[in-house]
Subunit: 343 residues, 2 copies
């Protein structure tokens, strides 16, 4: 595996319980490995906590990542752990600034895999423009974990022009999706099931904070809500919004962008792309008359947006989709999971 | 198990993968269970992130807890996860305000155990005076985790009078320990090994933030450093300080307080209490001439302090202990762990 910096040379190939002891082995793993790879992304701290500079109101979000497999087309648990939390903070209408990084490693993880993951973390942090301020490393015995779990917690400062909240979503609001869906979930599933397609399906894992910031700079409080449909997909997040706003969601099936390859994989596995996880797209709720302009703006930012529906007074708390056959279908929240351990 | 509030009644007894899906099952687990138990400790947030009010400079710390067993004399992984991070923030010289809470649950965990853990979290938050602002729940398949891992990340505002840093530790500084050591580690080990003693050894797991705040209010920047000897114990943390300050540590064996019961258990298991984890004591570094007054102050706060050593110019980066026989012993950092999964 190729890292973006020279591979640290240590005299062990796998992580052992001792590396989680807090003793010399932990120090070596961190000082001669992890910290070296993180490089400029790491804010130096000589204590168990870190000092962060903030303004008066901060957004904060946390996520633990348990995705399996830990490497997949288009990403790894490393960049996913950065992008996921960066995006959660961005979806508050905030500019992500700092992350904490906590690793739970299963004894026996190949050190080369750990370095690759930490390298992915460093690259993702640089792209998102965030710094890691403090962290933690634990090791569990073989069979008590699964290679590596990563928790990241992010803080960010609110964008001065932002006024983002589910409570601001109003009747008539357009629902705009930035890009085609289900890529992340299907990339993981294809890898897990060993499926080969003509061209590989790649995860859409990426940081969305720069895009959200541009949009809010352009439209200020006209952007009522931004939210990213990760675990549970577009269907789950729209149900949450319908439920919180006491409004209905009207969805148009043919407007929801899904790449052919991804749609094919979904059909093969009997999955509905509306419920499949994404890690690089988001939904925008704004007044209907702005919908065109917002989409133009998104295109200029490199997205391929579509207005997939709107908020209505009818059928409160329900998501109803127009089907290609001219019928209507209730898109309910699934009780459980189509795809476990997707993020 | 008795909770501090009525037990949530749900129609499932164990956690399943579906509870980690983000769908209806996740919502029920959270809304009808976790949130109800957390009660006033939870800051309501309608988004995936939370808004926190802060001042300009904040302390931030993160920790993942993987302790096994998850229930032990004197505590559980729940209160440990709160106290551990609260204490890390307090040791920065800050007042802990907010925590994030992220659960990684192994499929099959008894719901009654989960409720007990969440209840312990709520009680510990109330004692420490902190609020949970946002969280995350993931479920891994059976055999890919071990009951439950918990990540907490804390933020706090710096105490105006505090000036805490390893770089402030000076030649001649007294090293004061607030209470007797090794209780946490030996409570876990006794439970793990099924050892029975005349009276049960209990973990010292508790929040230290109120104590640190009182001390700093009283002595301001005369307190050079506070630090809690958790994983790796007093020996490891003193080695870290010696290494960072380029000074030596002179330790007096007979001054280090260890309860008879705990000392006996250590001897039985062949462990040195200096390396055993603590979760409710801390070390204070301050000018020698203040040592008496600081100890009086600590006694008034309910501690049983002892001055266990001092910082010296001799043997830089080394911890040397006077032994009862009149000899001297180098207390080095252990390469690995005496006790894995202690926190």
């Amino acid at each position: 595996m190729q890292l973006s910096c020279p591979t640290p040379k240590l005299d062990f190939d796998v992580v052992t319980l001792g590396h989680g002891s807090g003793g010399l082995l932990t120090h070596r793993l961190l000082n001669q490995g992890v910290f070296e790879i993180l490089g400029d992304v790491l804010v130096n701290s000589e204590h168990d906590g870190a000092c962060i500079a903030t303004d008066e109101k901060m957004a904060m979000s946390t996520d633990s990542f348990i995705v399996s497999p830990i490497f997949f087309p288009g990403g790894s648990i490393g960049d996913l752990a950065v992008n996921g939390t960066v995006n959660d903070v961005a979806m508050c209408g905030a500019k992500p600034l700092y992350l904490t990084l906590s690793l739970i490693i299963e004894e026996g993880l190949a050190v080369s895999e750990l370095w690759k993951i930490v390298d992915d973390i460093a690259i993702a942090c640089r792209k998102a423009g965030v710094k890691i301020v403090t962290g933690d490393t634990k090791v569990v015995d073989r069979g008590s974990g699964d290679k590596i779990f990563i928790n990241t917690t992010g803080v960010g400062s609110y964008l001065p022009k932002a006024s983002i909240s589910p409570s601001r979503v109003s009747k008539g609001d357009a629902i705009i999706l930035t890009d085609s869906i289900a890529n992340h979930g299907m990339a993981i599933m294809s890898k897990r099931e060993g499926l080969a397609f003509e061209s590989e399906i790649k995860s859409d894992s990426r940081a969305l904070n720069h895009s959200v910031e541009s949009l809010i700079n352009a439209f200020a409080d006209q952007i009522h809500l931004v939210t990213d449909p990760t675990r549970g997909g577009v269907a789950t997040v729209l149900n949450e919004i319908a439920s919180k706003t006491n409004l209905g969601v009207e969805l148009t099936h043919e407007k929801v962008p899904v790449e052919d390859q991804v749609a094919g994989a979904c059909e093969l596995l009997g999955l509905d792309p509306l419920y499949v996880a994404n890690e690089g797209v988001y939904l925008i709720f704004c007044p209907d008359q702005l919908a065109e302009e917002v989409q133009e703006n998104l295109k200029a930012l490199g997205h391929r947006p579509a207005m997939i529906g709107k908020m209505v007074e009818e059928h409160p708390k329900q998501v109803i989709m127009d089907t290609p056959m001219g019928g209507k279908r209730v898109i309910s929240m699934l009780p459980g999971s189509q795809l476990p351990r997707i993020c």
